[in-house]
């Protein structure tokens, strides 16, 4: 990977070369270049915002306060609705590990039903 301008230009301003970019080892037109995933970082926002960690903690806190099965039922239901709408708009593949949105909807529905059933069973026993 080239990380500086040619020496012909003498002293030049240093520029940031992003790490982990998938640049080929050569510029050969037919080279079977290696493929690397690059970090998904919005342009212009170099600072990583770990928002998800805050969200996970908040969900955990709600879960602790309300009771875990009920939280699962609530978030599972919200998830099913959200993914159902997204799928109707054309989202076929999610960044979720399950990939296919139908699988994601199935998983969330199962979780929601299990959470609801467990909550009911807890209340009536």
């Amino acid at each position: 990977m080239r990380d500086r301008a040619p020496a012909a230009f003498g002293d030049v301003a240093p520029l940031r070369v992003p790490d982990g970019l998938p640049v080929g080892a050569t510029t050969a037109a037919t080279a079977d270049t290696p493929i690397q995933r690059s970090p998904v970082t919005p342009a212009g926002s170099a600072e990583y915002d770990p928002l998800r960690l805050c969200i996970y903690t908040t969900i955990g806190l709600i879960s602790w306060l309300i009771t875990p099965p009920l939280t699962v039922a609530i978030f599972g239901s919200i998830g099913v609705i959200g993914y159902w709408r997204a799928r109707r708009r054309g989202l076929a593949s999610s960044r979720c590990l399950l990939g296919d949105t139908r699988l994601v909807i199935g998983y969330l529905a199962l979780a929601a039903v299990a959470g609801a059933a467990w909550t009911v069973w807890t209340l009536v026993r």
Partner: protein
């Protein structure tokens, strides 16, 4: 200081070779303050220079000194492209007397110093998208937002029609994913009634892959509409990099459905160094093999919007794509089969038409006509631009050329082939559908003609957009790909595509951005009259 002695008297030669002087911008300043007011953006003296066989953009910044970035991979090919320049067309400025410098001048639309009219009017009609691609220049999102009201889209187009003397060559619908617009079908209907030669639809194909109703809508408008389908390659890893999901089966399905429906489609490939720059030949092969695929548009990834960062010292460039054509297509298509699009800045676009002969071989129009002869024809175009009789002449000439061209191989070497090329160039960036429109009005066998062209003519374009590492003021001034925007005074206007993507204050004037800011007071069910909308930001 070197001592001046004996044979060393005088100054040595430079180690680089200056190719042309330019006005550029500082990427370091831009990255430090992306939201900098545009009237504070410095225009910097600079030049393009060849060093180590490649082309570099050098500019002097008062704060950062000499800033050098990679501009193009092959000086020889760039020099070849620079031979293809034709006079540009007159434009009407959006604001009379706007002599503000680039880029702040574009806040008031096209200025007096713009030197090219609007060949392509790009309308971002929604910010919503059903994908969230890491390399998206438009920064779209899955939320339903930034939906531009139908009346506002048409208002922008009508205003541009007026400024273009009653005819627009191309309107490109983009976003976001434009097919998600709630009134998309109505929009296409409305465009059909206007004097627009060609409507291009930028789409990821996700909805098209399964929505029969949408396909029918496109089929109804197929004499005017061409689909620009994102198609980055054939490998799973390519889609994971560019689109964050393996979309191969969806793309294949969308392409098959479009082809079966007889809708002309261009495969739009975002190509990045080390990711899919070795798949250019494969994508071209898909285009050559698939009926009704009109061609391929290869766009080297650029660093605006949500793009992953680009290495300023090594990237895939315009000439880099051209250089890869020959080796990756087994010599079927080489860089000499393309020319710079004569009406735009020669660094901004190259184009070539491939034609299948009766013997089943692919040949380029350039190779059939010859470079020198083609240049002569382009000269004729220049002399005829002011001729108001051209549309009628064009219709007849293109019709004859196409019919002759497709009937027998011997006609491929006839002068009327050259006239076809000439007419393609004269009308800037017209594609297959527009040729048909020009040619087919009197012919009862239009469907047969469509099918033949869909199988035997393919257009290959390379379209390198600029980010701050490659931005040149002269390319902006000669740009003809304009994005519909709105001024502070809520007037329709437009600005060059690359400027709108690179500078945030300009990006915020896109129609979809304006609609997105208003969404707080506007429900997603669209309002009929935009004057009723309360501006909340």
């Amino acid at each position: 200081m070197t001592a001046v002695t004996g044979p060393q008297v005088g100054m040595p030669l430079r180690d680089d070779r200056v190719l042309r002087y330019v006005t550029a911008f500082c990427p370091v300043c831009h990255e430090a303050v992306p939201e900098r007011p545009l009237d504070e953006v410095r225009r910097l003296s600079g030049y393009l220079a060849e060093a180590e066989g490649e082309v570099w953009l050098v500019r002097g910044c008062p704060d950062h000194g000499k800033v050098v970035t990679h501009y193009d991979e092959d000086a020889e090919i760039l020099e070849y492209l620079e031979q293809w320049t034709a006079p540009t067309k007159v434009h009407a400025p959006d604001t009379f007397g706007n002599y503000d410098p680039v880029p702040s001048g574009y806040l008031r639309g096209l200025g007096e110093m713009q030197t090219q009219h609007t060949c392509i009017l790009l309308e971002d009609i929604t910010q919503s998208c059903n994908l969230r691609c890491p390399t998206c220049f438009a920064d779209s999102s899955p939320e339903m937002k930034g939906v531009v009201e139908l009346e506002n889209v048409l208002g922008s187009i009508d205003q541009r029609l007026e400024r273009e003397n009653g005819r627009l060559d191309v309107v490109m619908l983009s976003g976001g994913e434009p097919t998600l617009h709630p009134r998309f079908a109505e929009l296409l209907e409305a465009l059909r009634d206007r004097n627009i030669v060609r409507v291009l639809l930028n789409t990821n194909g996700v909805t098209l892959a399964r929505d029969d109703e949408l396909l029918e809508v496109l089929q109804r408008s197929r004499s005017q509409v061409e689909v620009y389908l994102q198609f980055d390659g054939l490998r799973k890893e390519t889609y994971l990099h560019h689109r964050n999901a393996d979309l191969r089966s969806l793309k294949e399905r969308a392409l098959r459905r479009l082809s079966e429906a007889g809708v002309f489609t261009t495969l739009t490939m975002t190509a990045a160094l080390g990711v899919n720059d070795d798949e250019i030949g494969d994508v071209i092969q898909v285009a050559l093999d698939t009926p009704y695929v009109g061609g391929v548009s290869i766009q080297p990834q650029f660093g605006s919007g949500r793009s992953t960062p680009i290495n300023p010292f090594q990237r895939l460039t315009h000439t880099g794509v051209l250089k890869r054509l020959g080796p990756q297509t087994g010599g079927v298509v080489t860089w000499r089969d393309l020319t710079a699009l004569p009406c735009s800045h020669p660094h901004c676009c190259s184009v070539g038409y491939m034609m299948k002969t009766d013997a089943g071989e692919w040949q380029s129009m350039v190779s059939m006509i010859g470079h020198e002869r083609l240049k002569e024809h382009l000269g004729l175009v220049a002399n005829r631009i002011a001729d108001h009789e051209i549309p009628d002449e064009l219709r007849a000439v293109v019709q004859d050329s196409l019919l002759g061209l497709l009937s027998e191989q011997t006609s491929l070497s006839q002068p009327n082939v050259g006239e076809l090329i000439r007419n393609i160039c004269e009308t800037c960036d017209l594609g297959i559908a527009s040729l048909l429109r020009l040619a087919g009005s009197s012919v009862g066998r239009q469907e047969q003609l469509r099918a033949t062209i869909g199988e035997r003519i393919k257009r290959i374009t390379v379209k390198p957009f600029m980010d701050m590492n490659t931005m040149l003021e002269e390319r902006l001034l000669q740009c003809c790909v304009h994005v519909g925007t709105r001024s502070e005074a809520d007037l329709d206007q437009c600005a060059p595509f690359c400027a709108v993507q690179a500078w945030s204050p300009l990006g915020r004037t896109k129609l979809s951005e304006v609609a997105g800011r208003r969404a707080g007071s506007v429900p997603l069910t669209l309002q009929p009259h935009r004057k009723d909308i309360e501006v909340t930001s």
